[in-house]
Amino acid sequence: MSQLTDRGTALLDGLTRRIGQVLSRVEEIGAAAESITGAARAAGRELRRADFAGVRPLAASLLREQAGLVAGAGVVLAPGVAADAPRAIEWWWADAGSRISQLHVDTDARSGEGYDYTTTEWYREPERTGRPAVAGPYVDFICTREYTFTLAVPLHSAGQFLGVAGADILAGQVERLVLPGLADLGRVAVLATGRGRVIASNTASILPGTVLRGPHLPAGLVPVAGPDEGSPVPGLLPWTLLSTS
């Protein structure tokens, strides 16, 4: 059991380091957005959506550098932060030919029909905890149209919550990163989120996207490694590795 825990922890640590690389680039995007805000406020100028075009080069370089793993990146502003838009998504994505395009989303709050992102897990969690969060996996029907995680960090200026900077990470790519390690464990092994959603497993009887609970929790499956303080980026991945002991 303890050897299994060591190997499981090593697997999670490797994954955390890989996603930690994305985190540090997202933090750079966040810092740029915060300094754009700070500069405008110091000059007594109203913030406009167009000001945040300044983060585009950082988002584009993240998309190029992590092509395959990261499918979208940018900044999402809290309601009222930009003077010219009640809600604003400044987000870029790369198509199959690695061309970078800006995402266009109807965020018009007035009609009550626009996309309200303030209720999503990737927006709420960093807002609530003040810390980076990896939300999902979920079907992202706004940007990637794929099964996706969103890594999001909170943005602040003078103690005020400004929104989040983030990156979309494709769930299929995360699976590719962990499957060899799961196979190496030599027994049934499942990676699941803190809410029990299966991210990847090495058996066809437990499928990604399903939830481990009640009748679906296969007998004999127990947590063998999980979020801990010794992690390369503590608190980043609230994920648990389960296996048969």
Binding site: G112, V139, F141, R145, V211
Partner: protein, 248 residues
């Protein structure tokens, strides 16, 4: 079947000119959609027929046929002379009067087929969602159903309804089913609330509530059955309305 006859059948089905099978209707449908969505505005002049025909990839004859259909509906006016051309006629009207021409372009067979496709997608999505949704997913669905209850216009109902079905497919954790719902709703979504009037509005809203309840209770069989019945009832209403259009 003799070889030559088989070859004839084959060449007829494989190489039948595209113009033959409802191409004009398809072009007309796209134009009506563009007018309904406000992409083509009242008074706007359409490009020259030859240019428009090549844009749609149809022959000029087919295009003229499509324009004739729009003319009959009063959505296009053709003027002759130097200042001539085909002009869009889309004065402000109730949404319903914009949508009826769109429905008229669909045959009953097409409506039935779209309904079958929608029922298959919605049924599978509801079944899987009831097995895979977390409490937070169900909470989101209930919020949208609440919005549907409070909706006051046809457009608002249609958009909230679309969102509910797309969220159910997302709760099923299936990008493919989600994309299917998105494309089905952008194709025929405008029409779905068209035949729903009076007391039916509350009844159709209640169908969504019952469906989301079944998903929340984790009851896959009931969720699938409710979703299928819901879509089939919608299809039936649309077909009745469509049939009424040809009744003198």
């Amino acid at each position: 079947m003799p070889r030559s006859a088989l070859a004839t059948v084959r060449s007829r089905t494989l190489f039948a000119p595209l113009d033959a099978a409802g191409r004009a209707e398809a072009v007309a449908r796209r134009l009506v959609q563009a007018i309904t969505l406000g992409l083509l505005l009242d008074g706007e002049c359409l490009p020259a027929e030859s240019e428009l025909a090549s844009q749609f990839g149809v022959s000029p004859v087919t295009l003229r046929e499509a324009l004739a259909m729009l003319r009959v509906m009063g959505l296009v006016e053709t003027r002759r002379g130097r200042q001539g051309g085909s002009f869009i006629r889309a004065p402000d009207q109730l949404p319903a009067t914009h949508l009826e021409p769109q429905l008229r372009l669909l045959s009953v067979l097409e409506l039935r087929d779209i309904g079958d496709h929608r029922a298959a997608v919605a049924g599978a999505a509801a079944q899987l969602a009831s097995q895979r949704a977390l409490d937070s997913d169900v909470h989101t669905l209930r919020e949208h159903v609440g919005r549907l209850r409070g909706a006051t216009s046809l457009t608002e109902r249609r958009r909230t309804d679309a969102r509910i079905h797309i969220e159910i497919a997302a709760a099923a954790q299936s990008p493919r089913l989600t994309r299917q719902e998105m494309s089905l709703w952008s194709e025929v979504g405008d029409l779905i609330w068209l035949p729903v009037t009076g007391d039916q509005v509350a009844a159709v809203t209640a169908e969504h509530e019952a469906l989301v309840d079944a998903i929340g209770q984790g009851n896959p069989d009931r969720a699938r059955q409710l979703a299928e019945r819901h879509v089939l009832a919608e299809t039936e209403r649309l077909i009745e309305l469509r049939l009424g259009m040809d009744t003198p």
